[in-house]
Symmetry: C2
Subunit: 335 residues, 2 copies
DNA sequence: ATAATCCCCGTTATCGCTCACATGGCGATC
DNA sequence: GATCGCCATGTGAGCGATAACGGGGATTAT
């Protein structure tokens, strides 16, 4: 027999004031004398009063919830991002309503967005690492504050991105500086935003040094795909360095190289992307690019909250700078 | 100028019925003629009507949201679990409100629970891999349906667990069957539930075979800690096999063994726990224990929904059976 | 002493929905 | 043909909070 939990009226009655005064205390309204405030707070404590969020949401039209649309959250990147966003959101008093997509066709993206909007979120964070075709996110009502993370530009929606091109350039230029001439790339799946940017950075760095041979094999972020891709790459004996678009694929590459009895870094240099906590403990320790997910999460939430609170936003495009962690898997080119 | 979105009354007016009829259509109530139903649905479509969840939650007292209390969701285990729960929840029409804990003292656990309850969740999934001291979760009102995942028994709260003891036994017995006599264990942090269970399974298996030497070093799930722990273990030259309590630590162990020039599995067998997607591509491929997180998530949600809907629950303790994935990192003991 | 001004607090309406109950119509029953 | 009963629909209340406005009492100004 769960009896009805105490409402404002119960608290009001218990402390001999009106429910409105209770509401004022709750919202830290100023025009309440210290004495009554204390009285009300005492009654709230005594009765174990908890405000009913649904009722508040109904009347204010604000749910104090932000919606996050994401993709496979078992992957290190999305998981870290989500975690960072959650932490930031909690700090500013927002709950999270997360929808994860299984596939990323246009329809499921729109469904996910619709679902979140129906749930009454105050704002939207879209972790959109894929290209979804033309007019993405067209069904977001203009009234819903939105931030896009790691996604393609979508009109005037603010976005936060790690500078993927720069990250790839850092990696490849490091290899070039070590004297490598033929640097293969294991990319992510074609329809990912990050994939394209990293390819672009890789190509750009090669072009800058007039290295025209660009051997590219696409993976799917998994270790298995890195393993397979590397076997493919090894058909060209001139390749002396591999830039994998993430650490998992680099790990798979390591296995393929080991099976082919090609020493890393003596005969082949290898570089990854993401800096998994484990990467430092691979054999050999993996040189990789570090993205500050924490920072991305924090920044995107700042941007979102600013919109929700109706503040003017100065920067619409925020780029986070990645850094290179140089470790043992890269060395001077052989010869 | 965001004008007010259409409400039931708008739909009612547009289709010439009462708001109550609209409500009935919305909730698939039977006593509505096909003709009016169609008419109402058409108006809803035309006006772009979306039910206001907050209003519904207010009057029904149900939010169609379940709360999840979890720990560091960047770890593979919790992340997978969370993902599975989210999928299952969505399938049955529930949203998720997740709170992640930074530390796991009793107070933050209770705060987290309180926070979720205040938010009006219909049920609670507590992923509680730690021992939190006595009377954990004591502040959960009896009226809030709850399921504990991977946690210690807490009175009459239903729980779903992977059989960690069995998992550890499988691992250790596999090593024993290969002739290993001295099998060291790298455990997780002491205050984790899983740590204790895996230690128990390890000890139990050793006892069964009358192996009395039990060298145990505690790690913290990280690759680094596995690396350090292994260096410690190697001080005893009689150890021929290591059972690490998760794959990340096993990966760290691999590095320490490589540095000590101890061949795996020729001189040392190594076994992990979790079966990370990457583990199959380590060098050598890692033998490990597989937990079906998907299943755990699905089962726990079933249990929760059953409670929410007031059904009788037959099983209060659900154990999921782990399996052993035998790969290249384990082999016959040397000599 | 009277008017003006604040400060505190109460009254009433409202958000969008569901629940409990009332009502009208039509066929079946005797 | 009057009674019953069921089906389809409407009416009114109320969920628990905030918003807008109104009003008494003490303080200050005139």
């Amino acid at each position: 027999m769960a009896k009805r939990p105490p409402s404002m009226f119960d608290v009001a009655q218990a402390s001999g004031v009106s429910h409105q005064t209770v509401s004022r205390v709750l919202n830290n309204h100023e025009s309440v004398s210290d004495k009554t405030r204390a009285k009300v707070l005492a009654s709230m404590e005594k009765l174990g009063y908890r405000p009913n969020l649904a009722a508040r949401a109904l009347v204010t039209g604000k749910s104090s919830t932000i919606g996050v649309l994401s993709y496979d959250t078992t992957l290190f990147g999305p998981a870290s991002m989500l975690h960072a966003i959650r932490e930031s959101a909690r700090d500013v008093g927002y709950a999270l309503n997360t929808v994860t997509l299984k596939s990323i066709d246009r329809e499921s993206v729109e469904n996910g967005i619709q679902e979140l909007i129906n749930a009454g979120v105050d704002g939207l964070v879209i972790i959109a690492p894929h290209y979804v075709g033309d007019k993405p996110f067209s069904n977001i009502p203009g009234s819903v504050p939105t931030v896009i993370v790691e996604g393609e530009d979508a009109g005037k929606i603010p976005s936060v991105n790690v500078d993927q091109i720069l990250g790839a350039q850092l990696a490849v230029e490091h290899l070039i500086s070590l004297g490598h001439k033929r640097i293969a790339h294991i990319s992510g799946p074609e329809n990912w935003f990050e994939t394209q940017k990293r390819i672009e950075g890789w190509k750009c760095a090669l072009d800058k040094s007039k290295l025209s041979t660009k051997s590219l094999v696409a993976g799917d972020w998994s270790a298995r795909s890195g393993y397979e891709a590397t076997k493919e790459i090894l058909k060209d004996p001139k390749v002396t360095a591999i830039f994998a678009a993430n650490d998992s694929m680099a790990l798979g590459a390591l296995k393929a190289l080991s099976e082919a009895k090609i020493a890393v870094p003596a005969k082949m240099s290898l570089i990854g992307f993401d800096n998994l906590p484990e990467s430092e403990f691979l054999v050999p320790e993996l040189t990789t690019v570090t993205q500050d997910f924490q920072e991305v999460g924090k920044r995107s939430l700042d941007l979102l909250i600013a919109q929700i609170e109706g503040k003017k936003i100065s920067t619409k495009r925020l780029a986070i700078t990645p850094t290179l962690a140089i470790r043992a898997s890269t060395a001077k080119a052989p010869h």
